[in-house]
């Protein structure tokens, strides 16, 4: 099932106006119609937030409207959880996190959910996670894979140091990178290094999970990257 354009427009109007009940209603309707989680995430949540971001950038809505739209979306995600967390688990674990000072967390959370949906344990550490905290959770959960989500391009200059630290401390832990930040400027090419893989979208990630290439990658301890 795909989202009909006019339905999306009604949803978007409600989101922009902060009418959360209406937004809940739409999401429930889509879920009841058996819409794929990825479709809902990309064609509704991501699209609408990008549009909200654009309206804010071009000064057509206030930061308050943007905040409310984001807060509503955060809460809408929980409507999907009964479907996500019911999946049979395959025993693979992924830790997904944002870096310190990164406050954009929705993308990373969706990534964690996609892992869950495909039978992985997807532990999401949330926004603004300092490296020390990230490491202690990696040690606690002992994941097969670590995924980092970066939205603000300016945060990329810290990424090199973070990756070096992680590679040294956990040489066989594959690291996936993703997020908005890589889509501008020099992008992901500078982070081409062993054990680190840039994944350009949720769709690519899902293909990798379905095709089994991620599990293989983890078994090789990231050596195949």
């Amino acid at each position: 099932m795909t989202v009909r354009e006019e339905d999306y427009q009604s949803y978007f109007e409600a989101l922009r106006a902060g009418r959360k009940g209406e937004c809940y209603g739409w999401v429930q309707t889509w879920l009841a119609g058996d819409m794929a989680v990825r479709e809902l995430y990309l064609a509704v949540f991501q699209r609408s937030l990008y549009e909200i971001g654009y309206l804010w950038e071009t000064n057509r809505i206030s930061v308050a409207v943007e905040h409310i739209a984001t807060a509503i979306t955060e809460n809408l995600l929980s409507l999907v959880y009964p479907r996500i967390f019911g999946a049979d688990h395959c025993g693979c674990k992924a830790v997904i996190s944002c870096l310190a000072r990164e406050y954009h967390q929705l993308g990373g959370k969706m990534v964690a959910d996609i892992f869950e949906l495909h039978g992985w344990d997807g532990y999401f550490l949330g926004a603004n996670t300092p490296l020390s905290q990230l490491c202690s959770i990696v040690e606690e959960k002992d994941p097969d894979l670590l995924a980092l989500s970066v939205s603000v391009a300016a945060h990329l200059k810290e990424l090199d140091g973070v990756l070096a630290h992680l590679r040294e401390r956990y040489p066989s832990l594959p690291v996936l990178l993703g997020g908005r930040a890589f889509q501008v400027g020099e992008g992901s090419s500078v982070f081409n290094q062993p054990g680190v893989l840039y994944v350009d979208s949720l769709t690519t990630l899902e293909d990798m999970l379905e095709g089994g290439s991620l599990s293989e990658l983890c078994q090789s301890g990231g050596g195949r990257i």
Partner: protein
């Protein structure tokens, strides 16, 4: 045409004080607050009217004569930031307007920046709460899987144990019945204990199997219309045989006229048998157990009351939980698997009813459960196993044999 000046002033003042999101304080020439805008009142929490302004603002109280300070301030063009104590926003930027020997007006703007910060904090709190919510869902799903696993295990173990134990039970019964002459008194008593213990273990295994099955969402209800009066009379008759052994009388005290009740009669009978056998177990010899079925607006309420010791207040919330140990002593010769009330609760919940405990007027216990008269029975495979785990407390703080 010109506007009436005094009317304009009055309306403006009214607006500033009562409706606008502005900070306004009117002070007399001693620095006492005469009036305050609604917004200023909200900021202070306590009504500042009639109190010296200096008391409310630490910056002012440091001066010997706050009036001098106010006078100086009235000359400062940039105004000042005053703190508003613990309320939010915590500060407000004000200007002091000097009214000469009449007093002062303190006029402040809505601190937009602080409100923006406030919104930012709320947004990030919301984000954190949403993450916690996600974690909770994840944990819950994990726990549910573990519980299913436990139930599968219990089911398998109980099933595998049932055959050997039932062999012990039937063989000891056989020996007791057929070899009496070959046994001396001690041997007879020992064998009798073996029989009683294996019988108890069989009941325990059956209860465990039932509970595990229900928790896994396999409470298959065969709903059919039931004529309540006949149904109750039959149950009372069957239970009377057991009650006679303990010299307890069963009495059907009330049974309202009812339309046929849609329920699974075998399962509801199991519930009533459990409640009645508990009541009999805890009744002193010679006492009576009362049974009733009363019609409510859209439900039937079944009640089983005894004149036993009752359940202490502190134990009532544990009553319907499996394996909960409560402090009421079992009477001599009575046994309990500790699972009966828990099973009863799950059966009642499966019928979309509720079950609860009430102390009986005049001493003893009443166990009650209600069943909807026109039930919307959920299809078998959609029974929510979480619901059936009966964790949603309320007055149905369900549990097990006392």
């Amino acid at each position: 045409m010109t506007l009436d000046d005094s009317l304009v002033r009055e309306k403006l003042l009214q607006f500033l004080l009562n409706e606008g999101a502005l900070y306004v304080l009117l002070l007399d020439n001693q620095g006492t607050v005469l009036d305050a805008s609604r917004y200023a009142l909200e900021l202070y929490g306590e009504d500042p009217r009639g109190r010296p302004f200096s008391e409310m603002t630490p910056d002012f109280s440091r001066h010997d004569d706050p009036r001098d300070f106010l006078k100086d301030l009235a000359r400062a063009p940039q105004g000042l930031t005053i703190s508003c104590g613990e309320n939010l926003p915590q500060t407000v930027q004000v200007r002091l307007l000097d009214l000469g020997d009449q007093g002062w007006i303190l006029l402040g703007e809505f601190p937009v920046e602080e409100l923006v910060n406030l919104q930012e904090s709320l947004t990030s709190l919301n984000a954190e709460a949403a993450n916690l919510n996600r974690e909770l869902y994840k944990k819950n799903a994990e726990l549910k899987k573990l519980n299913d696993l436990k139930n599968q295990f219990v089911g398998m173990a109980a099933h595998d144990l049932r055959n050997p134990i039932s062999a012990i039970f039937s063989l000891s019964s056989f020996l007791l019945d057929n070899s009496v002459d070959a046994l001396n008194q001690d041997q007879y008593e020992l064998l009798d204990m073996i029989k009683a213990s294996s019988n108890f273990m069989l009941r325990l295994l059956d209860d465990l199997l039932t509970l595990a099955r229900i928790e896994m969402g396999k409470l298959n209800l065969d709903i059919e219309p039931v004529e309540v009066p006949q149904f109750l009379r039959k149950i009372v008759r069957v239970n009377q045989i057991l009650a006679d052994q303990r010299e307890v009388a069963l009495r059907l005290v009330a049974c309202d006229e009812l339309p046929p009740l849609a329920c699974d009669p075998l399962k509801i009978e199991q519930v009533l048998n459990n409640l009645i056998s508990n009541a009999v177990k805890f009744s002193p010899r010679g006492e009576t157990v009362d049974i009733a079925a009363l019609r409510g607006a859209d439900q039937v309420v079944f009640t089983v009351s005894d004149r036993g010791p009752g359940v202490p207040e502190k134990d009532r919330s544990k009553l319907f939980k499996a394996f909960s140990k409560i402090s009421v002593q079992l009477p001599e010769n009575a046994t309990s698997t500790g699972l009966g009330l828990s099973i009863a609760q799950k059966i009642v919940l499966g019928h979309l009813g509720t079950i609860w405990y009430e102390p009986r007027h005049g001493g003893g216990s009443s166990f009650c459960f209600s069943l909807p008269l026109t039930p919307v029975i959920p299809p078998k495979d959609s029974l929510d196993p979480i619901l059936l785990q009966g964790e949603q407390g309320g007055e149905s703080s369900p549990s097990d044999d006392r």
